[in-house]
């Protein structure tokens, strides 16, 4: 048996790199963040396993937000973009079979949700959600319109940078992650209390997708590249584990 046939537990999360629970400038965290210390312990099978999502789950238009809610012959309004990248783990391996779910506002910054009250109009041809499953090398791609920035009730005049929400299910429940992708060059990024829940500027950069001219479709769509890194497992031959674990 080679070393890599015996994955160990998940590497601990870097809690200084990840956002703290309590970030008062984002006011809702004040009453929704745990106050006690988190209880740390090594991952077990409960965290090292996860549900399997087959490619058969995914419909032909699930990763095409321009068309998956549109009337026949219609398409969503807004700058057409392709978002692509790979899901990797911390050791650099691609994560195949990961479920990626995305949701976003429309080009005017309005979500299709009954609790949403922003005055920008709905786009009748845009639902705002999509999903896909990563390929053998962890790659994924979807097509959408670039969402608009929008105001939100926090401070008196807070605006979210344009963003796409990502939910990722990998190979272990310990990898479960929800995050947001931002767009290179957006001046709202540095002003946003949610972005600023991250204390390390490099962490903000890790959520900022660059324009990728090589993946644009000429005369059709621009492209942004967004790689996602999930937690990785320790690899060691010298693992102090009981037989059969």
């Amino acid at each position: 048996m080679s070393n890599t046939d015996r994955p160990g537990g998940y590497m601990p999360r870097d809690r200084d790199w990840q956002p703290a629970g309590l970030t008062p400038a984002y006011k809702t965290t004040i009453k929704r963040s745990p106050q006690a210390a988190l209880l740390s312990f090594p991952s077990t099978l409960s965290e090292e396993t996860s549900p399997v999502f087959g490619h058969g789950l995914i419909g032909a238009l699930d990763n095409d937000l321009i068309h998956n809610f549109a009337q026949s012959g219609e398409s969503a309004i807004g700058p057409r973009i392709i978002v692509h990248g790979r899901v990797l783990d911390e050791t650099g391996r691609g994560v195949p079979g990961a479920l990626i779910e995305v949701w976003q506002a429309n080009a005017g910054g309005r979500y299709r949700h009954k609790k949403e009250s922003y005055l920008a109009p709905l786009d009748p041809n845009f639902g705002g959600c999509g999903r896909t499953i990563t390929g053998e090398d962890g790659s994924y791609e979807f097509r959408t319109i670039q969402p608009g920035p929008y105001p939100w009730p926090n401070g008196m005049n807070d605006w979210r940078p344009a963003h796409i929400h990502f939910s990722i299910c990998g190979h272990g429940f310990a990898q479960r992650l929800i995050t947001q992708m931002y767009f290179e060059g957006d001046p709202h990024i540095r002003l946003c209390p949610i972005v600023n829940s991250l204390s390390d500027p490099a962490a903000v950069e890790a959520l900022t997708a660059p324009l990728d001219m090589h993946r644009t479709v000429p005369m059709d769509s621009r492209a942004y590249k967004f790689d996602i890194v999930l937690r990785g497992r320790r690899q060691t031959y010298f693992e102090n584990r009981a037989e059969g674990m």
Binding site: G21, K31, R32, P34, L39, L57, S197, L230
Partner: protein, 204 residues
């Protein structure tokens, strides 16, 4: 300079925000493009073991129920086997997915999972863990998903030997991890984000 270790950094988390239901429970949000929401049915046929209902509410530090949360659970079948590609110990019950996802009730926020009572799962150092369900909570105002576990108050013997429950410093907080029996096959697992009954959250 020594060689670079070249590990990648985990992608930073950001809050799921107020509209997580659009993306993860789209049908619930009134956007019916997938033909139903994932994780609503954990049982896909007759299942082995004891069928149970697990319900609960997520409360903020003021005692107000969250109505914009998403709760996911993950667990083995009644024999302790996971319906996972990483399960190497045997074949899990083919009619049980082990994974549930709930947006909570639109008006009350209460989540309900129709599932089975999980079997025990090995502890890496040997021995068994008490039966438990892994729980993950995201919502607006939660910057990184909260991990916890629902154990069962009527598994006192197994709980008393569990390697995690027994190592918790503040034993008076252990009841925050115990699903309370409300009736035959019915358990309640309320989650308190803050306050005197703050649930124990994990960093696993």
């Amino acid at each position: 300079m020594p060689q670079s270790l070249a590990y990648l950094k985990e992608t930073p988390s950001q809050t799921a925000g107020p509209y997580v239901h659009i993306g993860c429970t789209s049908n619930f949000s009134g956007i019916d493009i997938y033909g139903g929401d994932l994780g609503t049915a954990m049982k896909t046929g007759p299942v082995k073991g004891e069928e149970i209902v697990l319900r609960g509410t997520v409360y903020d530090g003021t005692g107000t129920p969250l109505r914009d949360a998403m709760i996911e659970i993950w667990q083995p079948d009644a024999a302790g086997l996971f319906a996972s590609a990483n399960e190497t110990r045997g074949q899990a019950d083919p009619n049980f997915t082990g994974w549930g996802r709930s947006p909570g009730d639109m008006n009350t926020g209460e989540f309900v999972f129709e599932t089975v009572k999980p079997g025990a799962v090995p502890w890496p150092g040997g021995g068994l863990q008490a039966p438990h369900i892994s729980v993950w909570v995201v919502a607006r105002g939660i910057n990184i998903g909260l991990q916890t576990r629902a154990y069962f108050e009527d598994e006192a013997e197994a709980n008393a030997k569990d390697p995690i429950l027994t190592r918790i410093e503040h034993q008076n907080r252990v009841p925050t991890l115990l699903a309370k029996k409300e009736g035959a096959g019915s358990y309640r697992f309320d989650i308190h984000l803050q306050g005197p009954h703050e649930t124990i959250f994990f960093d696993i």
